[in-house]
Symmetry: none
Subunit: 232 residues, 4 copies
Amino acid sequence: MYIPTGRSVSRGRLSVARSKDRPPATQAERSRARREQILDAAFHTFTRRGYRDTAVDEIAAAAETSKGGVYFHFPTKEAIFRELVRTTADRLASKVERAVALQTEPIGRADAALRTVLVTFAGHRTMARLLFVDAMGAGRVFNAETNALHDRFAAMIAGYLDEAVEAGTIPPIDTALTGVAWFGAINEVVARWLLIDEPAPLETTYPTLRALLLRSVGVDEARIADDPSLHS
Amino acid sequence: MYIPTGRSVSRGRLSVARSKDRPPATQAERSRARREQILDAAFHTFTRRGYRDTAVDEIAAAAETSKGGVYFHFPTKEAIFRELVRTTADRLASKVERAVALQTEPIGRADAALRTVLVTFAGHRTMARLLFVDAMGAGRVFNAETNALHDRFAAMIAGYLDEAVEAGTIPPIDTALTGVAWFGAINEVVARWLLIDEPAPLETTYPTLRALLLRSVGVDEARIADDPSLHS
Amino acid sequence: MYIPTGRSVSRGRLSVARSKDRPPATQAERSRARREQILDAAFHTFTRRGYRDTAVDEIAAAAETSKGGVYFHFPTKEAIFRELVRTTADRLASKVERAVALQTEPIGRADAALRTVLVTFAGHRTMARLLFVDAMGAGRVFNAETNALHDRFAAMIAGYLDEAVEAGTIPPIDTALTGVAWFGAINEVVARWLLIDEPAPLETTYPTLRALLLRSVGVDEARIADDPSLHS
Amino acid sequence: MYIPTGRSVSRGRLSVARSKDRPPATQAERSRARREQILDAAFHTFTRRGYRDTAVDEIAAAAETSKGGVYFHFPTKEAIFRELVRTTADRLASKVERAVALQTEPIGRADAALRTVLVTFAGHRTMARLLFVDAMGAGRVFNAETNALHDRFAAMIAGYLDEAVEAGTIPPIDTALTGVAWFGAINEVVARWLLIDEPAPLETTYPTLRALLLRSVGVDEARIADDPSLHS
DNA sequence: AATGAATGAGGCTTCATTCAT
DNA sequence: GATGAATGAAGCCTCATTCAT
């Protein structure tokens, strides 16, 4: 099972870690480091206090720089938020896609996707918050953004379900609606988990959630019993 | 099929209708009328623009009163929002409970709950928005509120599932987690529906969603095929 | 000769004075008074420090109110400036038109216009500054505004000159260009006068300027010698 | 007719052209070249957007250098502006003086001055803007600067008029005031011309303006008819 | 009860200037 | 000499809340 590594865990963001933690040498490197610092700070503050309740001053303070410094690297507060949502979603999506690509048959693929999401969120609690909870706190400006985000994951699920239908693994169903429902179910489970103070590991929900979802689309009980996470 | 009644339909809020629409006579009556006017106005504006993006001035304008008038009836913008969320949730919950009480066996009860939620939301699109989308826009302060709201409905579902388990209608499962997942699935379907410009009636999702949810907890296919909505 | 009267002189703005200076009684009256207060304050600050160098805070302080108070009465800083320029120009223009209407023959009309402008500016030194000097300090946003303002007065002059040409009082000339040149000459004389610390009365320039302008369009020396200001 | 020469035409600034356009060799030369580059860039930006609306960043970008680079060559944004106004005015003044020196009799001298100003402005539209329009956009700080500039040209004109009076070419008049009025007339004509999108050549205003100005001080119609621009 | 005016804290953004490299 | 990053003081505007009438 995937375990997220590197300092990014401690920082809570799915960032691309530099090879070492030595102080950056070149100007360009230092600039990029500061940019990351700001993103991290914004990430933390956004996830803790929501978009509207986060002042740029707070981001600056958390990044140990000045307000002007923030505005040197980003044109607006909104741009910071957008970049955060976009890159975080991208990283999650590509992580899922990589995991899915390793599986050949439909159920296995769905399994891999679910497991990856839960495990990744498990390692990046606040990332989950940014993507699935606080995005809505950003107000109507970001409804489109959030909309697209949810659609994207729902569509991804629907795609796997379509494959499964074609392969005859599950009976024909409304895969679009089912994708939405699955996403909602996962989303809510993660969201609840986020709001608990000292939660059990998110992965413990996997078996139940897996069985629930697979059953919901009519997968054989036999296959459901064959939990791949027990093999790896 | 349920049809929400009263003037609340035209106003979009699940309000308690006064017996007649004659101008209120007593002082107290007039005061309550104004209060309702403000709540309605706030409801509309909150659901359209979100909590943070709604100015008290806008509420006052929509209620055809003045800012001072609003503050006479409510101590705080937050108080208006809280009252709105609480009473709206109360009304939905009691509506569901009444519908459920009419059913005797577990699956039927779950069915009734699901149907009531979908149908009520279908008739009160903006109410759904208030409860399930915009509540998050209110920011940190209201996370607890939202939290409680979601918990409440998830627990309600879990309760029905517990009954079903006890009755032997479904095999033993983690009903708490399943309640959360169900709620999430429904929530997401409603939320997507809210964001579409000219959506198909929400009730059209009922058969698919119903089958999905019932299957997910291992209800017999035979029972699933017996759709109660076809009887009523 | 016209002598500007009322408190507006002391305040430097061509405002419409209320009949008495008693404290305003009704709410509406008080509101209008505050509005005027703000306009006066803005007027003073704009004329002293220019548009860009005037902070809304300064206007508020000068008007003995708060920043929020200013924004209650005006939507933007720009709106204050626009209103100031527009109403000031309007008042000057109508003053000129009234004076001109009393004269019947072309030269007399031009005379009246020139005299009115000089005399009005003489009584409202800072008004002149707002219209003819500081308007340019407002930056490109207001070029159109300033443009229109200068055009308006140049066109007014050109109109009188056209009448004079038609009446045969002066030979045919390019009246449009001449209007611009006249306006420029007057404008510059006034502007110079504005910048002097303790200037001689502006009206002392009248005879020279009058002769200069009339000669420039070929008016008979005999008519020029017949200075109407000596009659009144 | 005068044609401004050198690369300054293409760049719009009355700059001192270096003999060739080969890359500068010595350190000092390179430094001066960069300085000029910055002045040119500042000139362009100031004339297009005004002083306050021009950011040092824009100047740096237009000069293809960095903000730090600008501050190496100039202590202050204001210093750039001052240098620009001063040198531009100097160049125009000396150009006028050279043209005037070629004429012997007073009317011819005034003629030469007027023609030089119009023709120079005609060839350097943006220079005119810098001197006569945007200088005011600089705000309070530069009122003195602008003041001095206008005074200087008005005094120059007054000087020529004094000569004419002494020579008996024109009757005695208030030459100081007349200088101001002439300058104002010319200034306004140029300013209007600057604000038109696709104006006729500025020189076309010369005959009318010339006649207007000469008549205004009582020059013989015979002499006015004798337009020197027809001879050259 | 209601009104509209006022308050003032706080938010986002700009930008001249400084400075380490 | 040059660069780009950083700073921090303003600046404009918003808005929940208060209050005299």
